[in-house]
Symmetry: C2
Subunit: 276 residues, 2 copies
């Protein structure tokens, strides 16, 4: 096995549970090396000696075939299983070894070494909150109804395809936030002002905007050649919603160059600030 | 400032982008210390000297008030901003410092030190895949239609409230997987066999089961005292769906003690295995 500085490298994420932590860490790190193509493979639920040995065998088999030294991100907590994994040929990055030792020292107590605490069912109440929030966002999607708005943490408004629905679902699943959304449609835009049934919830409103060009591209994928998707229509809608936000003092987020995670994080900041 | 082994500790997650990586890492680590109550605060989008200085001030203010040494998880990449953050009073855990140096050595090349690569819009195509998958799961939720099933990566079946919808949405948002779901309702269960319109997609089916007791508890929260929520009804439905899965050779996942993330990971394993 040669440790060559190849342009393609194997990366393994090993976990005794979902592998989400291992993947998040690993993905964040490997995106820092854009010139290398990483072939990724996750081994979740490696929670028995048998599975650990199987994992080592798979890593070694693939590694030998590939001819490069695999990179192994490991978030297993159990010492016995961990020892088995370290026998795999490769560069080992052990997440808990790197962080838990200094933390134990700082906190003056040993860690529990119990797995499944982070992405499992450890906190039943928090878990049910997320499911409830998800149901909330599904029943309050796209202006479907407004009678539950008193229970909303935030209400997103904006033109069709500006990112409202994905953001609401993400906020529910990740943060247990009750996020409703209400589209500013042609009818509302014609009136050039906030729809009447939103006025009483003005403090909860957050407006999304987006570059007209980008909106046009997104809509073209859905309904090619339609008036709805035309650049002219997109420009018009964006112009009017921006005016509404300005006139009504609704804070606005430009989603043009933001991922769902970035939009959601920006919304969370807003929700926290308006509560504190 | 005293470094006491308090039962309550302040934790700060600092990021120049969403803070998702910092929070994931930090959360995974602090759940390893169940006897300590952690008061968590995230500072996302710390992407200017001004914001970095403000963050340091906030950490120091809160830390002094609290009287304990804060724990600071940092995922900032920019060296100048990083240097500012290290002036905050506290225990510093710098994610990139710990991992990037050994990785640069292993890979034989420097890292890009560019931020926003992990949870941003870096990969436009992958991003649009997720949005498309989300639309797919929304329009194919709860057996709404079956005509798009040829495009499904997986079709979840199971009784009402066994976890189908959250799992599908999570799979879409996190992995860009086209996941449809079809409820096995009373009508189907009466027939005691797989609904006719699912038969041709049998290879894509995955069955969810759940403890009757747990299903009963979940349904009671929605419709207290209803026949639908009664333990007897839940036992009956579970018994029948299990029989259907067995008779039809549909692989089944017991969701009773699983989080959405764990169910999704198990489904992903299944999808990958059936494709390979």
């Amino acid at each position: 096995m040669v440790n060559k500085t190849a342009k393609e490298r194997l990366v393994f994420f090993i976990s005794d549970r979902t592998g989400i932590t291992a993947e998040t860490i690993g993905h964040t790190l490997i995106t820092q090396f854009p010139d290398i193509r990483f072939v990724q493979r996750t081994f979740p639920f490696v929670n028995s000696l048998e599975k650990a040995e199987y994992t080592v065998k798979r890593i070694n088999d693939v590694g030998v075939q590939d001819g490069t030294r695999p990179i192994i991100f490991n978030t297993i907590l159990d010492d016995e299983l961990k020892t088995v994994i370290t026998t795999a040929e490769g560069m080992h990055l052990d997440f808990f070894d790197m962080f838990l030792v200094p933390l134990e020292e700082e906190l003056g107590c040993p860690s529990s070494h119990k797995s499944g605490l982070s992405h499992g069912m450890a906190d039943e109440e928090q878990y049910m909150n997320r499911i409830d929030a998800l149901n909330f966002s599904l029943t309050n999607d796209d202006g479907a109804s407004t009678n539950k708005y008193p229970n909303a943490d935030v209400i997103l408004v904006g033109p069709s395809r500006s990112g409202k629905t994905p953001s609401c679902l993400y906020l529910a699943l990740s943060h247990g936030i009750n996020a409703a959304n209400y589209p500013l449609t042609d009818a509302d835009l014609g009136a050039d002002r906030l729809p009447q049934n939103l006025r009483q919830y003005k403090k909860k409103l957050l407006g999304l905007t987006i570059d007209a060009e980008r909106l046009h591209n997104i809509r073209e994928k859905r309904r090619p050649g339609s008036t709805y998707a035309s650049l002219k229509q997109c420009q018009l809608e964006i112009e009017i919603v921006k005016e509404i936000y300005r006139n009504e003092g609704i804070p606005a987020i430009d989603t043009s160059h933001m991922s769902i995670e970035e939009i959601a994080t920006t919304i969370m900041q807003h929700v926290r600030n308006s509560k504190s």
